[in-house]
């Protein structure tokens, strides 16, 4: 980038304000390695301290500074100014209720989380639990989630169509529990029937924006869909699983 300053357009709207909001423009001097969050903070510290912005670690670990930068959901701290050009628009995440300026209300996510059936271990396993590495690697990928909710923001189902779908972040939470070797609950059918999993049309935008590079669609959504199909649409597998269960109880 050649210019020494960058034009930053920041979305402004007060809490409860009825108007659709506006963009305030600021000229920000560019420094080496500057991120969008640095630029926004420069404005807050030097030009307009009334701007509300949520951030915490500045290291892509806390997930607080999620926003739509030039209409693409990203972490502000992980987006470098020199990667995106001389004019930058920063909007709050549009999929969530607005609070003020760049801040949105994410509390609905914690409500959804609470409604996912919790981990229920097999009965009578000796302590300490001894789990083989090969059985946990899949669920470990989902543990990388920093709860930035960018995947929820980009999902066209949540943005435009249905609040019934719990969304990619919560599917990976359910998948992490389902794939746990000691867990006894199956969440896939309820994801499909009650939590809107069949509204996802596997277009993979969630996977594209995830700053932790979690393969949300390939490794959580599609496997959960397939697990639900095993139980809902596949008579051959249903019979196979039944026979296996009978065989197991018979040999006990």
């Amino acid at each position: 980038m050649h210019s020494d300053t960058v034009k930053l357009k920041i979305f402004r709207k007060d809490h409860g304000e009825k108007s659709p909001g506006r963009h305030d423009e600021f000229e920000v001097p560019v420094t080496e390695g500057m991120s969008v969050l640095d630029a926004v903070n420069y404005v807050v510290e030097n030009i307009d301290s009334t701007i509300s912005v949520r951030w915490n670690c500045k290291a892509a670990h806390c997930g607080s500074c999620a926003a739509e930068i030039n209409n693409y959901p990203r972490l502000m701290c992980k987006t470098r100014i020199d990667d995106i050009g001389a004019e930058i628009t920063v909007n709050p995440m549009g999929a969530f209720p607005h609070v003020k300026d760049l801040v949105t209300d994410l509390s609905g996510n914690f409500e959804i989380d609470r409604n996912i059936p919790e981990f229920k271990p097999k009965k009578g396993i000796e302590l300490p639990w001894n789990i083989k590495e090969q059985d946990v690697t899949r669920a470990q990928e989902f543990r990388k989630c920093i709860e930035c909710f960018l995947c929820m923001d980009v999902c066209h189902v949540i943005r435009n169509h249905s609040s019934k779908y719990i969304g990619p972040r919560h599917i990976i939470k359910a998948a992490a529990l389902d794939m746990h070797p000691l867990d006894t609950v199956d969440r896939s059918v309820s994801l499909m029937n009650d939590k809107g999993l069949s509204l996802c049309n596997v277009t993979k935008c969630c996977q594209e924006v995830c700053p932790e590079h979690i393969k949300i669609t390939d490794n959580a959504i599609i496997p959960e869909k397939e697990r639900a199909i095993d139980k809902m649409y596949d008579p051959a597998l249903m019979l196979f699983d039944k026979l296996k269960a009978i065989g197991k109880s018979g040999s006990r």
Partner: protein, 235 residues
């Protein structure tokens, strides 16, 4: 009435959508061309579209139509749900109706594994066609066409074996590999297949383009173009 229609024909099909009409037109022209101008067999080469018989084409077509890789592509580029991920370019909006995979027609996506089984059954025929093309005179004849058929068979195999439904069957549905007999081996196979699965989208497109190329190649041969070469003959 409107509701009853929507139950069977999802909103995606009722919108004015030139992309969809163009897609249907291309498929219709292709199907008609297959029947009117068949090139089933030529100098020992069997056109993959007619192998083992054109009657399997609906299964192969449904395998591709319900494939997770193509689903992403047509939901984006034909139905525009969404056209692209950046939020202003998505062309999706609250005003457009959407039923995802909940409506009767799109529920067929859930049958993908059955079309996978059909595809696996059909695969050996493509390798048999390579064999036939090599020995059709009684002697061993290595020609460019046989190499093309062999590449086609390999690409189709890689495409079919990188399937998401197969991934689920091999290990996706398993929570505890170490609890199974031979679980470690199974996890290894699962990991290898997962690697292949990560390339499923590329393989889907490369194999589709290649099979069309093979068909055009054989049609070129049938039209008398000098595009076949013999590399080796062993009596």
């Amino acid at each position: 009435m409107n509701k009853a229609i929507k139950k069977y024909i999802p909103a995606e099909f009722l919108e004015f959508n030139p992309r969809l009409y163009a897609f249907i037109l291309i498929i219709a022209i292709a199907v008609i061309a297959f029947f009117i101008f068949p090139v089933k067999e030529l100098n020992g080469y069997i056109d993959p579209f007619y192998s083992p018989t054109i009657l399997v084409l609906p299964f192969v077509g449904l395998y591709r139509l319900t494939c997770y890789a193509y689903r992403k592509d047509y939901n984006k580029h034909i139905f525009k749900h969404p056209l692209a991920c950046p939020v202003v370019e998505s062309m999706d909006s609250k005003k457009r109706e959407y039923s995802g995979e909940t409506s009767a027609i799109f529920k067929i996506e859930n049958m993908h594994r059955y079309f996978l089984y059909a595809a696996i059954i059909i695969l050996p025929f493509f390798f048999y066609d390579v064999y036939t093309s090599l020995f059709y005179t009684g002697a061993f004849v290595l020609r460019l066409g046989s190499i093309i058929l062999a590449i086609n068979a390999v690409l189709l195999t890689l495409y079919v074996f990188s399937c998401h439904s197969l991934r689920s069957l091999i290990g996706g549905r398993t929570d505890c590999f170490s609890c199974l007999n031979g679980g470690t081996l199974r996890k290894k196979i699962y990991n290898k297949q997962s690697w292949l699965n990560a390339h499923h989208e590329e393989l889907a497109w490369i194999s589709l383009i290649f099979i069309i190329f093979v068909d055009l190649y054989l049609r070129g041969l049938a039209a008398g173009m000098p595009i076949d070469f013999t590399f080796m003959v062993i009596h």
